[in-house]
Amino acid sequence: MKERRKQGWFEFARAVGTILAALLLGFIITLFVSKEPIAAYRAFLLGPLTRTNRFGNWIEESITLTLVGLAICLVFRARQFSLAAEGQLYLGALVSGLVGLYFQMPALLHVSLAVIAAALVGFLWGLIPGLLKAYLDANEIVSTLMLNAIAIRIYNLILTYRLKPPEAGYTVSRYFHPTALLPRIVPETRITTAIFWAIAAVFVVYFLMYRTPFGYALRMTGANIRFAYYGGINTKRVIYLTMAISGIFAALAGAHLSMGIHQRVILNVSMGLGFEGIVVSLLARNNPLLIPVTALFYGYLRAGADIMERSSDVTRELVMVIQAVIILLVTAEGFLAFLQRQMRIRRGAELAEGKEAGDVI
């Protein structure tokens, strides 16, 4: 026990160390390409905190990332390599929009209805590849990549031919009825009540995974599907339900974008957030409780990068490179592993005391 806590602390120290090292490397790159590296990097590191609306962007982004991250974390834990989040996000944004545009009712009701509708469509859109995998053993990478492309076309189709008002000079819908907008809770930002869903979602997913029989079935299916089946778990059901439930969270992210951020349905609502979700989830080692942390971290990275790119002479392309480098290093466990080796050797020494073998030191 004590041993494992020690390990935990070490892990934490390692993470912090790695991040610092990664940031340092990022700075070194900046040194080479910027005339004003200090200023540029300050913008990167502190930018998101310097103005309310920047702070807002960071949080808004992190909300989206958290929700998508949770979606990914669910499927990955069941060892399903489903990339469906992107498409589900689009449909979530679309459907919440349809409700927001075509219905009229008291605020609370309206928002809830829109959110539920989004969640439902996300669920169903996840069900498709889920059933294909479970009953036809159709590879989920293929089906989800394709379904994403399809979802986006459906989105564009409806947006272009149904939602776009004639007077609009661009392919966007009207603004939703105010009753269907998420209330903004921090002035001068677009931080909305969605932040509460995000927080709630984290605990929901955690509970689902670790505190419900379904979650147990999900994790066992991920760990060894043969064992799960032998033990009486209906693994097919686990597979399609997991992929469907994951869809709910991706769709919520979509709803957040259209009801909270844009307040209407727009083209290209997501430029690959599905993949950002994978980054967030994997950084958190698919642990739901860590996802908001990594989402905030990654969100900060992106917001900061954006600000550096806008306010300094570092071009956005270069910022992308720096971002990538940081991701690479942060995930590299072996990086800084020499620390670990040090620790090993120290523990090796403790052997001398000749504790009863087999028991834990």
Binding site: R54, L267, D306, V319
Partner: protein
């Protein structure tokens, strides 16, 4: 990122920030705007900085607010319809600053936008000319032209501003010869030249021999197809034959003309007027053929390949539009 930043010349120069809600390198729209600013830097000695807000719409509003609040500028320039609501919100907060918005207009009825100058382009008129041109050329006995009355146009996405080009193009073609068939396709993206090339080849296969590019970077594939098949293409926004001229002369040969949407000129002109104190804020300005906002590129290739009757017909069309004899439809 701001590659452009000139050393401050003698007395305090006009400071301009160009905010691009996308990325540079589209070979047409935004690049053209950048060209205008560059020219102003050279010729008017202004100071300029460009901000690329990237392709993710979620970040544009923030980028604008940020720039307006934190940048050091006299005039802030942005473009496209997506930005005008945002600008409508931001501009009133900075009454002592000036704002341009191009290719769209803010909603002046709100009345608090006295510091904003909007400029729009009648791409439908320019495209009308392109349509007239294509419809006539397709019947000429040029090498690579067939006798079919079929022409093509490729749009990047099915969105109003693009459709505005296409509407005008079609109308122009029909006015020349009602039997002209116009093949319309959308590539569904701005950065897939391979797709652009494949679609163009398909159009050629279907009898078209001249294809109009309204698809940004994807359009570069159209020119490749034209070069490969010895067919023809029409460029857009900038004079695209000139862009490839030095590196790929054969390709330039296939780009008979380009429908110019002179964002560069319009911005340069506006900045010039501003410095002369002649620019009228608080209103939108429409630049059509008359104002040189749009038109066909009459470069060496145009001159080389265009038969006189076609030239005449085009000039006629220009005149008719100016005199309002021809009313060109719009997709807006």
């Amino acid at each position: 990122g701001a590659p452009k930043a000139t050393p401050t010349p003698e007395k305090k120069a006009l400071k301009v920030v160009l905010l691009i809600n996308g990325v540079l390198g589209d070979k047409s729209f935004f690049d053209s705007a950048q060209r205008g600013i560059d020219r102003a830097v050279k010729e008017l000695g202004i100071q300029a900085k460009t901000i690329e807000a990237g392709t993710d719409p979620a970040r544009w509003e923030a980028a604008l607010e940020d720039a307006a609040a934190t940048e050091d500028y006299d005039i802030l320039i942005c473009g496209t319809w997506q930005m005008n609501d945002y600008l409508g919100k931001v501009a009133p907060k900075y009454p002592d600053k000036k704002f341009f918005i191009f290719d769209t207009s803010v909603d002046y009825s709100k009345g608090n936008l006295g510091n904003v100058y909007s400029v729009l382009y009648k791409q439908n008129e320019g495209s009308y000319l392109a349509g007239v041109y294509a419809a006539m050329m397709t019947q000429k006995p040029l090498p690579g032209m067939n006798d079919k009355k079929v022409i093509g146009v490729i749009g990047g996405m099915d969105i109003p501003v693009i459709n505005d080009f296409i509407v005008g193009y079609k109308q122009g073609a029909r006015d020349v010869d009602p039997e002209t068939q116009v093949i319309v396709q959308y590539s569904g993206g701005w950065n897939d030249p391979a797709k652009g090339k494949e679609i163009t080849l398909a159009m050629y296969e279907q009898g078209a021999d001249i294809v109009f590019n309204v698809a940004g970077g994807t359009g570069m594939g159209i020119f490749e197809a034209a070069e490969e098949q010895n067919r023809y293409a029409i460029g857009v926004d900038s004079d695209q034959a000139i862009i490839v001229k030095d590196t790929d002369p054969q390709q330039a040969e296939r780009i008979l003309t380009s429908m110019l949407k002179n964002v560069d000129n319009s911005l340069f002109r506006a900045l010039k007027l501003h410095l002369e104190g002649k620019l009228v804020y608080g209103q939108a300005e429409y630049l059509g053929i008359a104002e040189g906002g749009v038109g066909l590129a009459k470069n060496e290739y145009y001159e080389k390949y265009t038969p006189t009757d076609v030239k005449a017909r085009v000039e006629q069309a220009e005149k008719d539009i100016l005199e309002g004899k021809i009313k060109v439809d719009t997709a807006f």
